[in-house]
């Protein structure tokens, strides 16, 4: 029966494997080979040199900067929210999780549009601030980096909250109480006990939102100004308007490599934790 089972599994694994090899892996190899192909058909690194210099380089750098800002912000906001949810009464916690999760299933375009309505000079936020006579209001919140980071953060937040909530649920409240029993202050408990316990989740959540941000461009394209062009938007322009496929492919490969690097860090951290756990349990 065992032989039969692995045969059955093999047959069932065929459709998805073939499908993804043809429509996912092969096209990405196509991107890779196009990025290395010169105008006359020979091998070249010209497109990469082009992508890593001048205006293109600054677009790449601003993509990294926006992704990093988004990762940090969604981590901070996500941490505060996840921490609060972990200590809420179950009914409120469920409600809060609903508000976190439901938007994830609503088109990002729509959510971005909501932000555009809210952040404009006559939008809800500025109207509110002006009516409160906050000095400097109305603030320029749209078509600049502030707007972009606010928008992308709201898109990434469900991921960070869910990841962080997962590790926070795993923290044994009795450990914190025990530390308090030794006379530790709240700050010390937070810094020396709580943070180290949730640190793996913080790393994962931050990297995950950074990675997902890299190739994202709905929000930057709609809420950013000229200076907030990101790599993905550049790829779109080069394909749809300028017919520069090779250059687009080179940018695609750069995004891919950055993503792999991020995933590699995630994987290494996970491996280290596993090894440490194995050492602990074997000793």
């Amino acid at each position: 029966m065992r032989g039969h089972r692995s045969r059955l599994a093999l047959v069932n694994a065929v459709p998805v494997t073939v499908f993804l090899l043809v429509l996912f892996v092969y096209p990405i190899i196509g991107v890779l080979s196009l990025s290395l192909k010169g105008d006359s058909g020979g091998f070249t690194l010209h497109w990469y040199a082009d992508a890593l210099s001048g205006v293109n380089l600054s677009v790449l750098l601003s993509t990294l900067r926006i992704s990093a800002e988004t990762a940090v912000l969604s981590l901070l906001v996500g941490f505060v929210l996840a921490h609060a949810i972990a200590r809420m009464r179950p009914v409120f916690a469920a409600l809060a999780m609903l508000i976190v999760v439901v938007p994830h299933f609503i088109s990002a375009l729509v959510r971005t549009y909501g932000w555009i309505i809210m952040l404009g000079d006559h939008g809800l936020i500025n109207t509110l601030l002006t009516s409160l006579h906050v000095p400097g209001a109305p603030f320029p919140l749209l078509y600049n980096e502030t707007g972009v980071v606010i928008g992308t953060t709201s898109v990434m937040l469900p991921y960070t909250v869910l990841v962080l909530q997962g590790v926070m649920r795993g923290v044994d409240g009795r450990l914190l109480a025990a530390a308090a029993g030794f006379g530790a202050s709240r700050l010390t408990i937070f810094r020396r006990i709580y943070l180290p316990l949730v640190a793996p989740g913080i790393g994962t959540a931050g990297l995950l939102s950074f990675i997902l941000c890299l190739g994202y461009y709905i929000t930057p394209a709609l809420m950013g100004g000229d200076k907030q062009t990101v790599v993905a938007a550049l790829i779109d322009q080069q394909v749809m308007k300028q017919d520069q496929w090779n250059s687009a492919a080179a940018f695609g490969v750069i995004l891919l490599l950055l993503t792999f690097a991020g995933l590699g860090v995630l994987g290494l951290a996970k491996l280290r934790r596993k090894k440490a756990a194995a050492r602990r349990s074997s000793s």
Partner: protein, 279 residues
């Protein structure tokens, strides 16, 4: 359970910050729902006058919006069918069988969820362009399946894991053959998961932008592509009504999944986002 007692200040601080952040998440959505019924169409909030004008505009037969809604529905339906076929088979292999190269296949399935979608879209563009298939609903649906099938597979895997395999053994011990077991035991028990997989495949495709954008032609633009263009170039207030409909669709879809799960006796609402395999 013993825990650190909460201080009053901490309690209030947490409540306030949580409320602010939840508002941050919910406000853009609420605002769209309200402005879609505003008469002026420039997004004044709150609107001075209410009307359903933009909804009528959206539904006008032969208009851009109605056409793209029909196209998106067609593509999403095709995607759902493809994803369910791939999802059911792949999940059976990954959750039930003793699959050689299990990790490799699982990694392949997860990869499309982590690779930048713009790269996948570019690859598909380069793949379908030489075949002259840009703008073909079938090609777009196949592209969407690259993103939707992994989600369907993850849902189906967790569904199958939730079904006690020995129930199938029990049926076998009474003389049921493989077909009967699948039809009478596994399939009925997996129905809530199948419905969830179908719903999420459908909205994944219906909301997908990158692939649809790269593979669109002036004649075939899906709803998200049209929305994007409307937001970037034209100022067509109809987009508020369209957005409100997309919100309603998502909420209805989630409610349907929650309902089916509850009827099926599943109480846990987790597995909502495919983040668990990553952590």
């Amino acid at each position: 359970m013993m825990e650190l007692p909460a201080t009053r200040a901490g309690h209030i601080g947490r409540a306030l910050s949580a409320t602010a952040i939840l508002l941050f998440l919910a406000m853009p959505i609420v605002i769209i729902l309200v402005t879609s019924f505003g008469a002026d169409g420039i997004g004044t909030f709150p609107p001075k006058e209410y009307s359903t004008h933009w909804y009528e505009q959206m539904a006008a037969p032969g208009g851009n919006w109605a056409t793209s809604i029909a196209l998106s529905s067609l593509i999403a339906s095709l995607t759902t069918v493809f994803s369910l076929i791939l999802g059911a088979t792949a999940a059976t292999a990954l959750a039930r069988g003793r699959l050689p190269l299990h990790t490799a296949v699982y990694g392949l399935v997860l990869a499309p969820l982590l690779i930048p979608q713009v790269v996948i879209a570019l690859g598909l563009f380069l793949f379908f362009e030489p075949a002259g298939m840009l703008g073909s609903p079938l090609a777009i649906a196949l592209g969407h399946t690259v993103l939707a099938a992994p989600i369907a597979i993850l849902i189906m895997i967790s569904t199958l894991r939730g079904i006690d395999e020995r129930l199938e053994d029990a049926a076998a011990s009474m003389g049921a053959n493989r077909m009967t077991i699948a039809r009478r035991i596994t399939f009925p028990l997996a129905t809530p998961g199948l419905i969830a997989a179908a719903v999420f495949s459908f909205i994944t495709s219906f909301d997908e932008f990158f692939i649809a954008q790269f593979m669109s032609t002036p004649d075939t633009r899906t709803l998200p592509v049209l929305v994007f263009n409307a937001l970037q170039f034209d100022v067509d207030p109809t987009v508020t009504a369209v957005s409100a409909v997309l919100i309603a669709l998502a909420v209805l879809a989630l409610a349907l999944v929650a309902l089916v799960r509850r009827l099926g006796g599943h109480r846990d609402g987790r597995h909502a986002l495919p983040v668990e395999p990553l952590t």
